[in-house]
């Protein structure tokens, strides 16, 4: 009886949802999908959106505009997909309000799809190449991000129309144990970074004989350069809600929390709408889909502490206490929120659940590699051509992700101020990639053929982490990188345990000394000793992983540390305190004053021979002059160590120099 009503109720919802859903094929009239997630908004997609609205009104064209999330191609934002009857849906990138207007005029009035701005078609056709043929799409396996950018995240019907909440209807017909068994078969591991087997966590939580039980979705994504969770929260919130309902049913919890950081206002607003809509349709609350299951969700906003992503600190934060970690065991699965068994899973883990149930565990386990099944989402950032989100099956090598999908390291482009002269591109070399954010490690080129998997990445000294991937080129100094990440963790330390509170401070001081050219060789041993003991002795994973950037750079780029200490030289010319800017007299043109005007500290003066020179005492090392110097002269260079700086020439107005 119950089985029938669940399916019936769902069919009713689905029928209703399909009525309104436009679909990508344009069969229900012209539709424009504008990406309005945070990445799009910061690139100006709201202006593009109102420009679309304006031109449609002016030209009296009938087309529907739908605000969608992010496709993960953040480098090409603002983006839109235009779907017009008679044409395949076409994806456009790098839009501006102006281009949006011209696009609509040409496409709708002149039947010219403005292919110069198109990234490709979204469907197979014989007119326009599809985006799936580009290296980026062809290597990706969209599974978690499947709906991102294709549906309106603020309309539950869109999610239901593309197959959402189907997994839930299957789950409601299963026993608790069967669901957990299915997750086990799929080989799902915690995608928050630790890689703990998801089914085990669920099993422990379900078997703890304490009631009530709680479920928490950890959406406190705080790593610099990581934005995978944000995209899913903003673009496909119902996948998380559905995953939570299923998880709640499997472990026997009736209330769940989404702990989302306050710095994601768009995500908070989308989630709030999503939860309300799910409640209205009876997908949250009492008797979900007419079954006997009840589950509801509260949204909890974090107050900005990075450490609250650690599960025990997160629980303390929800309880209204100071957000500091507690020793584990007891694990939250036994004693968690309000002292009750609590399951904490990351956004991506929970978003995988509905898909596993809807498509079957076999579909997931067919992707990936031994021990790591399914897909991983990475946020590509730093010195990379196509920054954004990529989803790849486990087992893909780092080289494929960075070079084939990400497009490799972009060259530096210097624009000439001479009319007609072409910009000069200077090729840049890949140097290292930081995986796993501030808790991860910095891996050199020689390790690029490592397949991506929790265990293989851990062997290199980095961690899989939640999926931030920051690419660095030869202009990035390894010591400075380690210092930067350690400064982050040191600032974000909660201050509870000795190792993390005092130890990371000492490490940061030593690293700062080295980048300033004030380090000594003995420091390196001390740094290593501190790093190893902090890694072993800290209370929580923030402290335990904080030394990773230092340990990996020491392992793979030790000679750079030594050069900083022994020669007081920064080989990448990045550490400001041990480099100096210098104007090459043989290249400088007397009449050009470009650098003088660009200097904010008035450090550039005119020499007696009318050439320009830099007053090192005044120089703030901002590199403005280097950018300002026209490429045909290219007279400004960085010098390290400072001792190699040639003697400064006297000023034109020498007598007046103070």
């Amino acid at each position: 009886m119950m089985e029938r009503t669940v399916s019936e109720r769902f069919e009713e919802l689905k029928k209703n949802a399909l009525k309104d859903f436009p679909g990508m094929d344009g069969k229900k009239g012209a539709t424009i999908y504008v990406g309005t997630a945070t990445c799009g908004r910061s690139a100006g997609s709201l202006e593009v959106l109102s420009s679309f609205e304006g031109i449609l009104k002016t030209l009296n064209i009938e087309a529907r505009i739908i605000k969608v999330g992010c496709h993960g191609h953040c480098y090409a934002e603002p983006m839109a997909v235009v779907s017009k009857p008679g044409w395949p849906p076409i994806m456009y990138g790098y839009l501006t309000p102006n281009r949006a207007q011209i696009l609509i005029k040409r496409f709708f009035n002149e039947e010219d799809p403005a292919l110069e701005w198109a990234l490709g078609a979204m469907e197979e056709n014989d007119m326009i190449p599809t985006v799936y043929e580009t290296p980026r799409w062809s290597r990706e396996r969209r599974w978690l991000l499947k709906n991102c950018g294709c549906i309106d995240p603020e309309d539950i019907n869109h999610y239901i129309a593309v197959g959402g909440y189907e997994g839930l209807t299957y789950a409601l017909k299963m026993e608790h144990g069967e669901i957990i068994e299915e997750i086990k078969k799929a080989g799902l591991r915690g995608l928050g970074g630790a890689g703990f087997e998801t089914w085990k966590k669920w099993d422990i939580c379900r078997d703890t004989p304490e009631f009530p039980k709680y479920l928490i979705c950890n959406a406190d994504e705080g790593d610099p350069g990581a934005f995978m969770d944000r995209t899913i929260l903003e673009s496909d919130p119902h996948s998380i809600i559905e995953g939570m309902i299923i998880a709640g049913y499997a472990i026997g919890a009736e209330s769940g929390y989404i702990y989302v950081r306050k710095e994601y206002p768009q995500a908070v607003s989308v989630l709030t709408t999503a939860v309300c809509q799910a409640r209205e349709l009876g997908l949250l609350g009492k008797n979900i889909l007419n079954s006997k299951i009840s589950f509801d969700i509260k949204i909890n906003q974090g107050a900005g502490a990075f450490v609250c992503g650690e599960e025990t600190a997160l629980i303390a934060s929800i309880e209204g206490k100071r957000g500091v970690p507690k020793p584990r065991p007891p694990y939250p699965a036994n004693i968690g929120l309000w002292g009750k068994p609590t399951l904490i899973n990351n956004v991506k883990t929970l978003a995988s659940i509905p898909k596993i149930l809807a498509y079957g565990a076999g579909k997931v386990s067919s992707l990936g590699m031994e021990g790591c099944m399914g897909t991983a989402v990475f946020a590509l950032a730093g010195k990379i051509k196509n920054a954004g989100l990529v989803e790849i099956p486990f087992g893909t090598t780092l080289r494929e992700i960075i070079f084939d999908i990400g497009g490799g390291v972009p060259p530096t482009i210097k624009v000439s101020n001479v009319a007609g002269e072409l910009p000069k591109t200077i090729k840049r070399q890949f140097k290292a990639v930081q995986i796993g954010g501030p808790s991860g490690g910095c891996l050199p080129e020689s390790l690029l053929d490592t397949p991506v998997c929790f265990d293989t990445i851990a062997d290199t000294g980095a961690i899989m982490g939640s999926g931030g991937m920051v690419v660095m080129d030869e202009d990035n100094c390894a010591v400075e990188t380690a210092r930067y990440f350690l400064e982050f963790t040191q600032k974000e330390s909660c201050g509870k345990c000795t190792f993390c509170r005092i130890g990371t401070k000492h490490m940061l001081n030593i690293l700062t000394d080295i980048t300033r050219g004030a380090g000594i060789m003995d420091d390196l041993d001390l740094l290593e000793e501190l790093a190893e003991t902090i890694k072993q002795g800290s209370l929580c994973n923030l402290g335990k992983t904080a030394p990773n950037p230092v340990l990996t750079t020491l392992r793979y780029f030790r000679e750079e540390y030594e050069i900083h200490i022994l020669d007081k030289r920064c080989p990448s010319l990045e550490c400001k305190d041990i480099i100096a800017y210098y104007i090459l007299p043989e290249k400088c043109q007397r009449a050009c004053d470009a650098c003088v005007g660009s200097c904010p500290t008035e450090a550039i003066y005119t020499r007696r021979d009318r050439l320009k020179a830099i007053d090192q005492e005044k120089c703030a090392k901002c590199a403005n002059c280097m950018d300002a110097c026209p490429i045909q002269y290219d007279a400004i260079i960085k010098i390290s160590p400072i001792s190699q700086l040639p003697e400064s020439e006297p000023r034109d107005d020498d007598g007046q120099k103070k």
């Binding site: 040191q490 330390s493 909660c494 201050g495 509870k496 345990c497 000795t498 130890g503 000492h506």
Partner: protein
């Protein structure tokens, strides 16, 4: 009373079931350095990171304040890897603690001096420079003085004030390296509703809280 028997440093010990290793060792005259542990607290604080021991079958040293005794457990408190961690933790604490024992109100009844004596650690941290805070001393209360510069952030006073006396006057302020114990909004103690029970002063293992 249900009992379990275990071995610590080769010594056979019979103790109550559910007890944690640190207390089992201390009761039997085996010294394990510790600052933040409170036996009555069911959820150990685990912040000082001094009470590491090695337990057979575990890959890494564990904090003995969180580990419950089990039958047949074999514990070693002085292995190479334990000492390396404890020594560093102690050095780190001492690198933020002024070594002014002669002027210190806790001289000769100081937990840090005890650890130094028992473990043979030098008070002055070798190779680590001292990073000393220069925080104002709170002399406002009529019965006791609070010198945050001497505080080791063990949290004993915070626990007692909140959980035993249930006054909730003291708690941790700020975060990270500048964390300190203080009152709400970091106001002087005299402006707080402190009932002068002085339990926090009795609990302080160093000279941060001292009677006038």
């Amino acid at each position: 009373m249900e009992t379990v028997s275990l071995t610590i440093n080769g010594k056979k010990i019979v103790t109550e079931k559910g007890k944690r290793v640190l207390w089992a060792a201390l009761e039997n005259g085996i010294f394990i350095p510790h600052l933040c542990a409170i036996e009555e607290n069911p959820l150990p604080f685990g912040s000082c990171r001094l009470c590491f021991v090695e337990i057979e079958g575990k890959k890494e040293p564990v904090a003995s304040c969180t580990e419950e005794v089990t039958d047949g457990m074999i514990v070693d408190t002085r292995t190479e890897s334990v000492l390396r961690l404890v020594r560093m933790a102690f050095k780190l604490i001492m690198s933020r603690h002024p070594i002014i024992c002669r002027e210190c109100p806790a001289n000769k009844k100081c937990a840090l001096q005890d650890i130094s004596r028992e473990m043979g650690f030098k008070l002055k941290p070798k190779r680590l420079p001292q990073i000393l805070p220069d925080l104002p001393v709170d002399d406002s209360h009529s019965l006791f003085t609070y010198n945050p510069n001497l505080c080791v952030l063990c949290g004993l006073c915070v626990y007692i004030c909140n959980e035993i006396v249930k006054e909730a006057i003291l708690d941790f302020n700020f975060r990270g390296f500048i964390t300190k114990v203080g009152t709400f909004k970091n106001r002087p103690l005299a402006e707080s509703k402190c009932n002068s029970c002085l339990k926090c002063v009795e609990a302080c293992p160093v000279g941060a809280l001292s009677r006038k």
